[in-house]
């Protein structure tokens, strides 16, 4: 088994998470809203910045952000050695509205 094979199922699962919209944000549990709202306003942030904004320690904040990642609202990126978190929202779900009217 290759080095990254064990990661692939998790990566595939995350790649297939549903698209999220603002209506989904409204339906989020209250404890996830402050970090989500902050990330929407900032676009992307580091863990320490999110923690400072919501007034929690980094361990608790990482758990909240992981929950948001699992639900498909946020994606985690590596910028150099820093982990950054970026919102993953679309304006609306794709529809069957015809391109040619």
């Amino acid at each position: 088994m290759g080095l990254f094979d064990s990661w692939q199922p998790e990566q595939d699962r995350r790649d297939n998470l549903p698209e999220r919209t603002m209506a989904d944000v409204l339906a989020l549990p209250e404890d996830l809203r402050p970090s989500m709202d902050y990330l929407i306003e900032q676009g992307e942030s580091e863990l320490a910045e999110v923690a400072a904004h919501i007034g929690q320690d980094e361990t608790s904040t990482r758990a909240l952000l992981t929950d948001l990642i699992e639900k498909g609202f946020v994606q985690e990126m590596l910028a150099g050695s820093q982990h950054r978190y970026r919102v993953r929202l679309v304006s609306r779900h794709r529809s069957r509205f015809p391109l040619d009217l």
Partner: protein
């Protein structure tokens, strides 16, 4: 630091685009730097108020959202539309949305990445050293307007003295508060001059537990103008224009 002001209404025809254009104009006349973005991608119209020909519009917000240009390439300096007396430092820019059917249907079908829009706003605020970013929104509750409400520092909700508007505004206020709205101002537009404006103001404030920034009269002159230009420039002493200046003063005082 820039202030984001979203203008919204539950129903169409409340005078949202006219108000935002005249409000932005009034704020620029105080020497401020303002960008107005027509985020009403489904039914754009702000470009009309600033005399832009849709056939020769060039790049629009749609082009930016689909990666065809930078946000600044879709930004037009319309300060000259405000006449010769804009104070030093004052500037008005417009980002129009496309009125081409193919562009509108593409957005309806595909949507766009929210990050692109908010990244664009942040870039604008920095690049143009903005005092204010005004967002004209599509009427009614939908995913795009929820975003405008969430990111705005001030939400201006417009309604007419009409039962459908009253009921719909109550729903919008409820949703806006769930989005942890920072500041809400109400504007009642198209009010018959014979009504008691102060009594109406009290009623609306009590109904929604939010301040009424202005009560604006319906006027034949506005209907005659038909969005062909900025009303407050053509009729600066009209009660509507005076009302717009009062609303502008409240927005300025909160910054």
């Amino acid at each position: 630091m820039s202030t984001i002001v979203a203008i919204h209404s539950y129903r169409g025809g409340t005078g949202k685009s006219n108000l935002i254009a005249n409000l932005a104009s009034s704020i620029v006349q105080q020497g401020k730097r303002v960008v107005v973005v027509d985020t009403d991608i489904q039914s754009p119209g702000l470009h009309v108020l600033f005399g832009m020909d849709p056939q020769n519009m060039g790049l629009t917000l749609n082009d930016y959202l689909y990666g065809r240009c930078s946000i600044e390439q879709a930004t037009y300096d319309v300060t000259s539309k405000l006449g010769p007396h804009v104070p030093p430092g004052g500037a008005l820019y417009l980002i129009p949305s496309s009125i081409k059917a193919s562009e509108i249907t593409r957005v309806l079908r595909e949507g766009y990445e929210v990050n692109l829009l908010t990244d664009g706003f942040r870039k604008l605020m920095k690049m143009f050293r903005l005092d204010y970013l005004f967002l004209d929104t599509h009427p009614g509750l939908n995913e795009e307007t929820l975003l405008s409400i969430l990111i705005s520092d001030t939400l201006v909700l417009i309604l007419r003295p009409d039962q459908q508007d009253f009921q719909g505004t109550a729903v919008t206020v409820e949703v806006a508060r769930k989005l942890k709205l920072k500041r809400l101002l109400l504007v009642v537009n198209k009010v018959l001059p014979k009504l008691d404006f102060e009594s109406l103001r009290q009623q609306v404030q009590e109904a929604y537990h939010a301040p009424v920034a202005g009560i604006l009269p319906v006027s034949e002159e506005m209907i005659e103008l038909g969005s062909a230009g900025l009303f407050s420039l053509k009729y600066p002493e009209h009660p509507f224009s005076q009302g717009v200046r009062e609303i502008a003063a409240q927005i300025l005082s909160a910054a």
